[in-house]
């Protein structure tokens, strides 16, 4: 198993009645709440936590992109990744991902990721994502074009990395007379591609066809994940190959303490801060953002009110749906092994700081995970030696 430390960089000290006075943590949560003095501390602590993943023995770190919200202070994950490139020597740095439709021209992503890859000596994983629903409000980008923009932007980036320039790309959305990205990435043919998805079949088919890695968008009931990863594996089989474990990543809040009881006692309030204050608004789904087929499927699976984290009302709900893995090292390892082996994933992505959790506590949590959980999991689920399938290249249109 490969282990990644994922950080959302949340805004920690919101007013205690925030959720009563604000309906959304996204788009409309007023930026008068932002205190730069506090955020100075948050950013530096969070970057320390990420950098510490290397000496702790993690395989990599993950950063991600969200805009205009109190959920995460990382509108530019590439900026944070660039700092981590200089603070680490060995581990992978996964940007999961850049929201491609928000970059115009999207060659900007190709340039920045290539810079990071070259400077880091080939340690970058390029996550590419359509962007969360709220992003389309915050950036005034047309959600009805989200999917076609993503597809075009993705093709531009992949071709910019792998095909000699300059070439012309005249698509529906992007008209680029000269694509000639300089620098190109160090990894050949390009950095690994991770695509996050929330259960849309089109995304899984796309990822399976191109032989990239699929990462489930978190905060769903474990059964929903299991169904989705089974679907993904089927998609790979339809493409004529067996899904590689490292083509799948499972992202979860994780908390480890000496005993189960102590873990819950230390963790629970931060989970509720996260769920009650930071999650509302995350599921905004602007019109046209998903296909009608996917929207209907997702709508129906969420209808019971228990499939997404916002339906959690008691600790029992949290445990039952495995919305967080919390307990002693034995318990946490056991649960990871149970779920990961059923899902077949070879990447475990942990959120070790969640919601209002103070930095010292988050660091201890990550340390206990690295020391006492990772070896247990790796013993049960050793990293496979089978090579990852090679990504399907885009044809060079000039040939």
């Amino acid at each position: 198993m490969k282990h990644f430390l994922f950080h959302l960089m949340p805004y920690r000290e919101l007013p205690h009645d925030f959720e009563k006075t604000h309906e959304s943590a996204w788009v409309w949560a007023p930026n008068s709440l932002f205190d730069p003095e506090r955020a100075h501390g948050y950013y530096n602590e969070y970057i320390d936590q990420l950098a510490e993943a290397e000496p702790l023995g993690f395989d990599g770190v993950c950063v991600n992109e969200h805009h205009q919200n109190v959920y995460g202070l990382m509108p530019s994950p590439n900026l944070i990744a660039s700092m981590l490139v200089m603070r680490t020597r060995r581990i992978k740095i996964a940007v999961v991902g850049n929201a491609l439709p928000l970059y115009n021209p999207p060659t900007r992503v190709a340039e920045e990721i290539a810079m990071l890859d070259v400077i880091s000596g080939g340690r970058i994983i390029s996550g590419q994502v359509i962007g969360g629903g709220p992003e389309y409000f915050s950036f005034s980008i047309n959600p009805a074009e989200a999917r076609t923009r993503f597809a075009e932007a993705h093709e531009i980036i992949m071709r910019a990395w792998t095909q000699p320039g300059p070439f012309e790309f005249y698509g529906e959305h992007y008209k680029l007379r000269y694509v000639n990205v300089f620098p190109r990435p160090l990894q050949k043919p390009h950095p690994p591609i991770w695509i996050p998805g929330a259960g849309s079949l089109e995304t899984m088919e796309f990822v399976a066809k191109r032989r990239y890695a699929y990462m489930g968008i978190p905060y769903f009931h474990i059964d929903f994940f299991k169904k989705n990863y089974a679907l993904f594996r089927e998609c790979c089989e339809k493409e004529g190959y067996q899904a590689h474990p490292e083509q799948m990543g499972l992202l979860m809040p994780i908390y480890v303490a000496e005993t189960d009881a102590k873990a819950r006692r230390e963790f629970e309030e931060h989970f509720w801060y996260f769920k009650n204050k930071l999650i509302p608004g995350l599921t905004l789904s602007p019109p046209g953002y998903t296909s009608v087929k996917s929207a209907l499927r997702i709508y129906k699976s969420l209808k019971d009110g228990k499939t997404f984290i916002n339906g959690c009302e008691s600790w029992e709900d949290v445990e039952k749906g495995c919305f967080a893995i919390v307990g002693s090292p034995e318990t946490v390892a056991e649960k990871i092994v149970e779920h990961a082996s059923e899902i077949g994933c070879g990447n475990m992505l942990g959120l070790f700081q969640l919601g209002s959790m103070p930095s010292a506590q988050a660091r201890e949590n990550a340390r206990r995970y690295a020391e006492a959980v990772m070896p247990r999991v790796n013993k049960e689920l050793p990293t496979t030696t089978r090579p990852m399938p090679a990504a399907t290249p885009f044809p060079d249109e000039r040939k």
């Binding site: 047309n142 959600p143 009805a144 074009e145 602007p286 019109p287 209907l296 709508y299």
Partner: protein
């Protein structure tokens, strides 16, 4: 009143249309609700006229939204539609989003529109009174929805207003709602439900024009009716008191009387 549903081809797109009545043709351009269905106010409009209510590309079973990039493409679609129907010129009623299309059509191709009714129409912008962001409506709160679209949220029509999230809807209806919102967003997401070029060309409209507004429109406020009436030569503004955005549903009698009085 008898009505028929038919499929026509416009620019290679299969277009769903409902029609009924006899007399001179009258074209109804529906709102973001996609009401190319035989609602009572359509039936009333078909008395003495041959009423045509096509569904815009992307609405109901009308195809071709993939090729409609923006409002200009939508107007070209309707220019071709008029050709398909063989109408040199026709009377047009547009409600809300449909009113925007109607105003563009009459401004860009003045000779194709004889009489024009702009009912609660978006399409222009009044900085002091922004159009409500219908795309940001939280479907968890049906009361807010009714408050936005109606003067009296307790009127019978408001009670019929449903959104996924608060009631169980059949798949077909859910799909229609999602498609309608997606198609509206494709044209009107940003800038929100208007075309910054339109107000500069409204002086070209040669159709006799009625701007028909609910006095208490919380979606496209009355100021939009006033601005349209000011910019379109000879246009008249008629205001229905104590009425909201969906005027033909909230006060059908007053709305129909105004339209019929104008069309003659």
């Amino acid at each position: 009143m008898q009505n028929t549903t038919t499929t026509i081809r416009v620019l290679g797109r299969e277009i769903h249309e409902i029609r009924g009545g006899e007399g001179r043709p009258l074209l109804y351009l529906h709102s973001a609700m996609g009401e190319a269905i035989w609602l009572p106010h359509l039936s009333a409009l078909a008395q003495g006229r041959e009423l045509h209510a096509p569904a815009h590309p992307g609405f109901l079973s009308s195809a071709g939204i993939e090729q409609v990039r923006d409002i200009e493409d939508m107007v070209e679609h309707y220019y071709s539609y008029l050709d398909v129907m063989g109408w040199e010129s026709v009377d047009v009623i547009g409600l809300s989003f449909g009113g925007w299309i109607a105003a563009e059509l009459a401004a860009r191709f003045p000779h194709r529109v004889s009489k024009l009714v702009l009912a609660s129409a978006c399409g222009i912008w009044v900085r002091e009174k922004p159009i409500a962001d219908i795309f940001a409506i939280d479907t968890r709160f049906p009361d807010r929805l009714r408050n936005l679209f109606f003067h009296d949220p307790n009127c019978p029509a408001a009670q019929l207003m449903v959104m996924p999230g608060n009631v169980e809807l059949p798949d077909e209806m859910l799909i229609n709602i999602m498609n309608a919102f997606a198609a509206t967003a494709k044209i009107g997401w940003n800038p929100l439900l208007h075309d910054p070029r339109l107000e500069g060309i409204l002086h070209r409209v040669s159709a006799q024009t009625l701007c028909l507004w609910g006095a208490n429109d919380r979606v496209v406020p009355l100021e939009y009716g006033e601005k349209y009436a000011k910019l379109i030569p000879g246009a008249r503004l008629q205001v229905i008191p104590a009425c909201g955005h969906l005027a033909p549903l909230e006060n059908p009698l007053a709305w129909l009387a105004a339209v019929k009085g104008f069309l003659g």
